[in-house]
């Protein structure tokens, strides 16, 4: 089967060791995490983890089922790029030690609707919000000036429209396998 990028949204109890429990499952089953982001939700007892990984559909379904087995996991949802909005924040420190270079960087930054969050005589630090493609394109251009360091938050994603992850409890996830929930 065809391997492609998938985004998994995982709702977990906000208790110690949860992130390691979730990430360990990936390493145990031999999958690489492309990106991982984690933070609390509107309920401080609940954390939402977003993981991007490559795999075929059967692999992702099996992984979601294994994730649902963890007691700390409240719900798991596989989000498609069509149905979900994805964002990532990237900070790029660029070498720009002359006025000309700084002006040129500022021009690129404005075209990308990125922003400058720190400036010094030698460097500019640029912050860009967007999907992966946008960040990549910007970094590509900034590479000419010399990129000193890059840090990314990892991709987060949320479904478009009225649907939320809360509709996707473990029970409904298992319904596809014939679980009696009605």
């Amino acid at each position: 089967m065809e391997s492609k990028e998938h985004t998994l949204s995982i709702l977990v109890e906000n208790t110690p060791g949860v992130l390691s429990q979730v990430s360990r499952l990936f390493s145990r089953k031999g999958y690489n995490i492309e990106s991982i982001a984690s933070g609390t939700t509107e309920d401080p007892k609940v954390t939402r983890i977003t993981i991007v990984m490559n795999g075929d559909d059967a692999t992702i379904a099996q992984l979601a089922a294994q994730l649902r087995k963890l007691l700390c996991v409240i719900s798991v949802k596989v989000l498609s790029t069509e149905d979900a909005v994805q964002r990532e924040l990237v900070l790029v420190k660029v070498k720009a030690d002359t006025k000309d270079k700084r002006d040129e960087v500022l021009q690129i930054v404005s075209v990308f609707r990125a922003s400058v969050v720190d400036i010094s005589r030698e460097t500019l630090t640029v912050s860009i919000l967007g999907d992966e493609n946008k960040a990549c394109a910007l970094m590509d251009l900034l590479a000419d000036f010399g990129v000193l360091e890059v840090v990314r938050t990892g991709i987060i994603a949320i479904e478009r429209g009225i649907r939320t992850i809360y509709e996707d409890t473990k029970e409904s996830g298992e319904f596809n396998y014939g679980k009696n929930v009605l």
């Binding site: 145990r28 099996q62 649902r68 007691l71 473990k170 396998y177 014939g178 009696n180």
Partner: protein, 540 residues
Amino acid sequence: MINGAQALMESLKREGVERVFGYAGATICPAVDALAATDIAYTLVRTEQNAGHMASGYARMMGKPGVCMVTSGPGATNLITGIATAYMDSIPMVAITGQVQSYLLGRDIFQEVDITGACAPFIKHSYLVKDANDIPRVVKEAFHIASTGRQGPVLIDIPIDIQQQMIDPVYPDSVDIRGYKPSVKGNDNQIKRVAASISAAQKPLLCVGGGLFSAKAQEELITLCESARIPVVTTMMGLGLLPRNHPLNLGMIGAFGTPTANRALNTTDLLIIAGARAADRAVTSPKEIASRTKTVHLDVDPAEIGKNFSTTVPVVGDVKVILDQLISHHPKAQSEAWIADLQARRQAETQPAAAPGAGSVTPSYLMRTLGEQLDDDACVCVDVGQNQIWAAKHLPMKHGRFLTTGGLGTMGYSLPASLGVKTAVPDRQTVVVCGDGSFQMFENELATLKAMGTDVKIVMVHNGVLGLVHQIQYSSYSGPFGVDLTGSPDFEKLAEAYGIPGKRISDDGQVDSAIHDMLTASGPYLLICDVDPMTTTSMT
């Protein structure tokens, strides 16, 4: 006020715990001290791994979690194999480990180890208790988690200062875990689809595993296969679900299975897998089978669906309940021609082979003779290696239990498991089948056997080598290496040193009377059977 250890014991009693298998050490002393003041029975093992295996044997016979309790550090790490074995075989177990003082955690002090971290990949759930007030809730949850859904081991790690913390415990009556709501009833529409598939099938086949023992679904299996006319094959963990001579029982599938069972698996038009994960040893080419035939998978664990086998109709729930739901639809397959053909094949392959000449014991003959002489409801605890394959292939099960580790395949499982069995069902005849390799992995537990004063018969297949590896090295590698058990003791004398009578035989002519003598002897007994190391598992 009582201390955490006393609250732990009260919580165990409230869960119906009658026995704990353990090995004391510094950090578990408060709990051992509290246990001594209760009427909970305690069995001292000789190495912590076997506390896990004993709890496993106990749990499999009682149908409820077995409990083991060991100290921190090396005690806990020694228990890991016992926990992993229970996990792979889906056996309910609650393992309690002592831990160093909570305020010293992470400083690598004497006998400190991160046991919840170490066990994480092969445990259903684990707790590190940091407040004694949590102990009643944690114990309640641990027993609930271990014994519901897909059963498995749960670990409770308790620092010594928490065991000593004074509290006014509050014991909860119920459990509410947001992320844990296992399915029980199967989806009605899916059940209807399965029932209709059965009625339309001409060559239906039930493939059943250890999950049916966990669900206590033996009666439902018999009712369904008889009323719906579906022949049955089993995995190794499912051996004994049906008596060997049941007309619909085709035996075990897989690399070591019966030709008829494997033929049925390869020609069925509706394969119903129930309570089995059908891993590599049972089904070598799941993709090929799934591409050719309609498959139904009944399992309590949704993550099993599609893991090893792509499934046409999955049903998640308690297999006992699902089978009952299925029976209520009265499905009936058009399978008489298929059954008649399979029964004829089964009949032909089960003709007993003649006992060959003198000089060594023939394993198949040994197992057949043993099986015939055993009580109808005997428990046979089988180790790992050639002895496991020979017993699985040739020992005729009646209405007893065949207890082995089909998942992890841990050598040294059989005797400790049998001691657990004996504490659960003291009056049932219990026999261990092992090799001289596996015997030397558990021989320290002969002391536990003696101390318990219980009656377990041990049948050792003795060939002086690690037989299954020896066999594989002959067939697939450059030849035997590192499998010669030279240096092994005189096992008769070793047993005698423990006060256990033994006998050594080296001829098929002695088998019948030697087994009779063993089974009629009072107390434990070791029967050593000399087998030619060149005898393989494929010989009959």
